[in-house]
Subunit: 204 residues, 2 copies
DNA sequence: ACCTGAACACCGTTCAAGT
DNA sequence: ACCTGAACACCGTTCAAGT
């Protein structure tokens, strides 16, 4: 709290405005497909003006990735509190897939991953997101072990790695050859998570 | 067989030479990071010459993707013949992960996926690869059901979708926050596949 | 103080001109 | 016949000049 709270658009809301415009453009044409001119037009300002608020195109991606982390935090919330963390993880997976097929999802597209390979700031932002997801899922599985709903011999860290890779893969996937219904994929995912994580003896 | 078999470099070997040079450049700097000038330099020819053999930068990716499909076919071979298709799938997964962590792998990077979102030819090439993988894994699981090593109630198509998404995710992943050993990931993957696919009653 | 938009150094691609 | 490399239309980014 250093200065502001005026009626004129401040730095932060300007940045949000630009990020929102950019997100529209990226969704339409991808990160490299959308030009700065497009983004400027969509945001209703000139190139020079935009560069007052973001030092580069990549910096816009970083801002979007950071916003995405907040929305993930919301999505992951139930994992922390649920009475049955494994059931909550299955539920989360179902929501995730539905959101993915809706196209409602924000933007963890292949484009962004590709940019991360070249730009250290983007890479760092995505790694923060991945670390957050990893930690949250890890905590849920450990708690599941304490509660007896997760196999106590499961290698939780390695399992998380796979589960998150699966999530990433579902994000970037090309529809798939056959057109499977969301329900069938959701069902299969729940079966996979259940069988993979539950204690070896039991059926629940 | 229309014309050739001379000592001078023919069309096909020229194309291979360019594709190899491009692959080196892409590995170094990614698809967008590598300029055509870089590729020309690496291949030892001018821009005009290169464009005699490939109509665009994207066309080079398509050629690489097609070569990758052949190498996948080789990798998937055991699935078709193995006495235990589920065991063969686990083995394939282990090889896949090791190859991934070696950096030995060809190029199903985020870059290429990103390009597919914008270029229909690249997209078509990747879809051919995905369809091939999907069909092969599907056949293996169906055969596993016949042989009694795979749960007869498993939704094979949906399971394949998840397994291939997992493979894609492992390809594009950013190392992961913690540095897990390949062995632990391999072990977890085998557990996951085994528990997911085997008949519900049994242990083998 | 803040914005504009032409200018800069690049990119992928083309094509007149060379050999 | 095949190749060269300057030229073209773009891109992300900058910065003199305006208000």
């Amino acid at each position: 709290m250093a200065s502001d709270s005026k009626a004129v658009p401040d730095q932060a809301s300007r940045r949000r405005q630009i990020a929102r415009a950019a997100l529209n453009c990226f969704r339409r044409s991808g990160f490299h497909g959308a030009s700065m001119q497009d983004i400027c037009a969509e945001a209703g300002m000139s190139a020079g003006a935009l560069y007052r608020y973001f030092p580069s195109k990549a910096a816009i991606i970083v801002a979007i990735a950071e916003a995405e982390r907040e929305s993930h935090a919301l999505m992951f919330q139930p994992l922390e509190e649920a009475a049955d963390p494994l059931a909550a993880l299955q539920e989360l997976g179902a929501n995730f897939i539905r959101q993915q097929l809706d196209g409602t999802s924000e933007l963890l597209t292949a484009d962004v991953l590709a940019e991360a390979a070249r730009n250290p700031d983007v890479k760092a932002a995505l790694e923060r997101n991945a670390a957050f997801a990893h930690e949250t899922v890890t905590r849920a599985l450990l708690r599941g072990q304490d509660l007896g709903v997760v196999d106590p011999d499961l290698d939780v860290a390695a399992a998380c790695h796979l589960i998150i890779a699966l999530g990433d893969g579902l994000c970037t996937q090309l529809g798939g050859p056959a057109q499977l219904s969301a329900d069938r994929i959701v069902q299969a995912l729940q079966t996979m998570l259940q069988r993979f994580c539950r204690p070896v003896g039991g059926r629940a």
